[in-house]
Amino acid sequence: MKRTLFAAPHGTGHWIAQRLTAVFIVAYTVLFLIALGLTQPAGYDAWRAFFGQGWLRLATMICFLALLYHSWVGMRDILMDYIKPAGLRLALFMMVAIALLAYAGWAAQILWTS
């Protein structure tokens, strides 16, 4: 079989991960909206206290990581379908990957240092 440039050798793994992360993100969103509805944090102090809950920080961070993996698979699919020149595709892959890694660090920083 001829491999397409940059098609991952572990396509099935990415495919399954895309589905699992999707389920997790939806579950988190529902949970977050329920928690928000129950608490209804009004004002800065209540909002901070809301995000000060350890379980919510952890769930939010895990959800962000799931989101970043999910985005990676999705953006990779889009770029592989529409961007044909190899150099440009590689450059865009790298930009997306670097951006997603940076977002992961940024999310951790927001959740634990602010």
């Binding site: 939806v26 995000f51 977002y103 940024w106 927001i110």
Partner: protein, 130 residues
């Protein structure tokens, strides 16, 4: 005219415009468009979270910005992209486990997504923004 030249000149024309896509195709391309939108919005969402948690002052100024009609309009787009992507995503998950993958049901579920996502988006906009 020689046969080969005739063959070369014969055009094959596929009408691939968005408006000629069958409904499941429209749902599929909307899944991609909303997904790409959500990817591009990640830094904006992180930034909003950051300034909302930073200090009472930054929280207050953020609330003020969010009351602006333009900010609300952008949020409508965010909500739509999220709802559209989630609903068509749930449909894809069901198709993955071979639920409703026959043509008739697949078209029906595509129709459900096309009508349900603006409805839920409007409901969420009404609940959160008005």
């Amino acid at each position: 005219m020689p046969q080969s030249a005739l063959k070369k000149r014969r055009p094959i024309w596929y009408n691939l415009s968005l408006f000629n896509l069958p409904l499941p195709g429209i749902v599929s391309i909307l899944h991609r468009i909303s997904g790409a939108m959500l990817f591009l919005l990640i830094p904006a969402i992180l930034y909003l979270l950051q300034i909302s948690l930073r200090s009472p002052d930054s929280f207050a100024s953020l609330m003020q910005v969010l009351r602006h009609p333009l900010a609300k309009l952008i949020f409508c787009g965010v909500i739509w992209a999220f709802v559209q992507h989630t609903l068509s995503g749930i449909r894809l998950l069901l198709l993955d486990v071979h639920l409703g993958s026959d043509l008739h049901t697949a078209r029906a579920s595509a129709r459900v997504v096309v009508w349900l996502s603006p409805a839920i988006s409007l409901l969420m906009i009404w609940a959160f923004l008005l």
